[in-house]
């Protein structure tokens, strides 16, 4: 691992993305044990303070410390986006591999199923899903995660299809291994690089989507802060408390940027040829 890191860190994209992501994750992790202020404790008396020594990023309209909220919000963003990616990988990859291994009608049916999901405008559907099940972090995860499934299914299927005719797979088949075993032992490990890159990108997208849902009031609910919700609350106060809008926005941009750079870097560092294969 450390040898890999050493080579990888020579890649500028990867290095920058890696550092940013580490900082964000670290901030989120620390927030579990310590934040400068309690984010659930409202202190109306010290509301709308501009950034300064007592409150690095200022306070919001309830007098909460924005730096602490950014820390806890990072935790929330990461959790939602991560679980949504896990849903995408967890359902998408097996489906894609299965479709590739079986081929024929099953393949067609699964891929058409994907098309159905793809045909739904994602954001609109997420709004519908949260309307059905009620707003909240869990439902936001589901809404974002569902739309990750076809992405990973397509990717896995494409990669698997290109792997099946390869010699070493042929050899394994000749040795009498079942398709399932081959998939688990050879196909999936060989597409791991590709999946990692896509996961990073989906992770970054998930953070933006979560922020969007929270911004329209359908994401994480109070008392826990979320970046998107902070933006929503800041909107009408922009003219006298611009820090309330600028800081959470920057937090999103920096985090997403970090993840995208990380993904790009990974793509370059890991086997670059695989990523070009489509369908």
């Amino acid at each position: 691992m450390s040898a890999f890191l050493k080579t990888a860190l020579r890649n500028k994209s990867f290095a920058t993305g890696f550092v940013i992501t580490c900082v964000v994750v670290l901030m989120a992790a620390i927030s579990f044990v310590w934040t400068p202020y309690d984010v659930t404790d409202l202190d109306i008396g010290s509301k709308l303070k501009a950034p300064g020594w007592a409150h690095w990023f200022g306070t919001d309209h309830f007098g909460r410390d924005i730096f602490s909220m950014i820390m806890v919000g990072a935790r929330n963003s990461i959790a939602v986006a991560l679980v949504a990616v896990i849903i995408g990988v967890g359902f998408g990859v097996p489906l894609g591999c299965w479709a590739a291994a079986r081929g024929g009608l099953l393949d067609e049916a699964l891929m058409r199923g994907n098309d159905v999901i793809f045909a739904f405008p994602a954001l609109l559907s997420a709004v519908m899903i949260t309307a059905v099940f009620g707003p909240g972090a869990i439902n936001a995860i589901i809404a974002i995660g569902i739309f990750n499934i076809p992405v990973f299914a397509r990717l896995a299927r494409g990669a698997a299809l290109s792997l099946w005719p390869r010699d070493f797979i042929m050899a394994a088949r000749a040795a009498g291994k079942t398709k399932t075993r081959i998939t688990i032992e050879h196909i999936v490990p060989n597409m791991a690089n590709l999946l990692i890159v896509q996961a990073t990108i989906a992770f970054a997208l998930g953070i933006i989507q979560e922020a969007g849902l929270a911004y329209v009031g359908l994401g994480t609910q109070p008392p826990l802060p979320s970046w998107g919700k902070m933006l929503n609350e800041a909107q009408t106060m922009m003219s006298f408390a611009p820090h309330m809008a600028i800081i959470p926005g920057l937090a999103i941009v920096i985090t997403v940027l970090g993840l995208n750079l990380l993904g790009d870097g990974l793509r370059d560092v890991l086997d670059p040829r695989l990523t070009r294969k489509r369908d």
Partner: protein, 498 residues
């Protein structure tokens, strides 16, 4: 008398013509108004729906009732120019205006009044405020311009009730079409409606009364507070009778282009409590909550200082209001002790369902943080109105909720069986029954005071604050209401100065 009328007519004519003749000399005063509204009405028939947005468009503008409510909550003559009340307080004889025409050209007469009132109180009527008409025993047409209404028992507020938007007079021929194409007697006619965006009213040139100064009034529907602010700042909207973003009021007030008027509403904003659901069925628990709520912090945090603390369910600007705010001062130790006495020394968990308005969503966050200090952990569940009504209001499936009760003089809801508070007090019911039968003002006020004290003693709900009305409008507009005694945007007296 006749000469007086003539003189009046001449005076009216000249005032009407005068500005028109000045057009050449100076800039003409603007004659159109764009009014911002937070909610769009689902339809435009005030006699077939409760949403305040309906009244906010059509009340006094398109439709008129027998009486009308003035800007201070006073009862004024409407389509009835005068009335007599019998000795026993049970018979009201209304003398109607003559020469009044509906927007479709048909004439208004006593038959329309009988039709409208009978329609509202009929079985299967979709009138949202059927209770207003429940006391009516019969409606009789005496002649074309006289109607007699017989009540089952004296009702002190009958004339006020007849001024509600739900009691406007409609014509039998057009009543069914009023939802999409409202036909009333008011000074404005319905123009056009782009769903989801704007609604236009145009001046009714055949209006029976003082003609309005505006040629056209547009209502623009902007539900988002931030969008409302940008629209106001950009001049896309001339006025907001009730501006949805209290946090921006200082900014708007500092802007010389705008007139900001903080008025009062009939909205008692309360932490509604399910009085039969444990642990809230214990009065000590409810009192503990009352002691834990810091009203001023809620007003400052959720409403940015706009609002008046209340200690009971009554509007502070009403003469019969009793200030009971001090009955439960902020006292966390006392609150904890009350909880311990009730058997909850370590507090408990409960849910708080919050409807969409910012007073509820923001207020709810603050209340949750305040109650946490005495050990009550509230799970916040945001709900849309479409869910709040069936779940909370109808099925009473809730622990706590925050809502503003905006109907005027609505303390009587605490006497209703099966109301969503699940509050049941014989003493209170007796007081309200007595109040309904009493007509003398002093006696009525005394009974109202008694009613207020009973619900405060029982700490039925967490009484928080009276919703303020933050009116924001272009400084050149005159005649908009500063307070809202009824849900309305009465544009009849609005004009531009220039």
């Amino acid at each position: 008398m006749r000469t007086l009328k003539k003189l009046l007519a001449v005076a009216l004519m000249t005032t009407a013509i005068a500005p028109a003749t000045m057009v050449g000399a100076a800039f003409a005063a603007k004659t159109s108004l764009i009014m911002g509204m937070v909610l769009e009405p689902p339809h435009l028939d005030p006699t077939a729906g409760a949403p305040a947005a309906i009244d906010e468009v059509v009340y006094a503008n398109v439709f008129e009732g027998l009486t009308r409510i003035g800007s201070k909550g006073e009862v004024l003559p409407g389509l009835a120019e005068s009335w007599d009340i019998s000795e026993d307080g049970k018979t009201y004889t209304f003398k109607l205006r003559t020469g009044v025409k509906y927007h479709d050209g048909s004439a208004f007469d006593a038959e329309d009044v009988k039709f409208s009132l009978d329609r509202a109180r009929a079985e299967g009527s979709t009138n949202a405020q059927k209770a207003l008409f429940a006391g009516i025993d019969s409606v009789t047409v005496k002649d074309a311009s006289t109607v007699e209404v017989q009540l089952k028992s004296p009702a002190g507020n009958f004339l006020f009730n007849m001024g509600w938007g739900d009691a406007v007079i409609v014509a039998p021929e057009t009543a069914d079409g009023n939802k999409a194409n409202p036909v009333g007697t008011g000074p404005f006619k319905f123009g056009s409606w782009v769903k989801g965006a704007t609604l236009n009213l145009v001046k009714n040139d055949d209006y029976w009364g003082t003609p309005v100064a505006l040629e056209k009034a547009t209502f623009r529907f902007i539900s988002d507070p931030a969008a409302a602010l940008s629209a106001m700042l950009a001049g896309d909207v001339d006025a907001f009778a009730n501006f949805p973003a209290p946090e921006t009021i200082p900014q708007l007030r500092a802007d010389p282009r705008f007139n900001v008027v903080i008025g009062s509403t009939e909205g008692e904003t309360i932490l509604s409590t399910n009085n039969t659901k444990p642990p809230f069925n214990d009065v000590r628990v409810r009192q503990a909550i009352a002691h834990a709520i810091d009203r001023q912090a809620i007003i400052d945090g959720a409403m940015f200082g706009l609002g008046t603390p209340i200690g009971t369910h009554f509007a502070p600007h009403h003469p019969a209001y009793v200030d009971l705010v001090g009955q439960y001062p902020l006292d966390l130790e006392g609150a904890k002790k009350l909880l311990a006495d009730a058997g909850y020394p370590n507090g408990f968990k409960a849910t708080l369902k919050l409807p969409p308005p910012s007073y509820a969503r923001r207020g709810g966050e603050i209340v949750a943080s305040q109650l946490r200090k005495i050990g009550i952990e509230l799970e916040i569940i945001p709900v849309e109105w479409g869910v709040w009504v069936p779940e909370v209001f109808k099925a009473k499936d809730y622990d706590l909720t925050i809502v503003s009760h905006t109907e005027p003089m609505d303390i009587g809801i605490y006497a209703r069986d099966d109301y969503y508070f699940n509050y049941n007090s014989d003493a209170f019911k007796a007081t309200i029954t007595k109040l309904n039968e009493t007509t003398g003002e002093a006696d009525r006020y005394a009974l109202m005071a008694e009613a207020q004290k009973i619900i405060t003693n029982d700490a039925v709900n967490g009484f928080m604050f009276q919703l303020a009305k933050a009116g924001v409008w272009n400084a050149k507009i005159n005649g908009l209401w500063e307070n809202s005694p009824v849900q309305a945007n009465d544009l009849t007296g609005v004009s531009w100065s220039d």
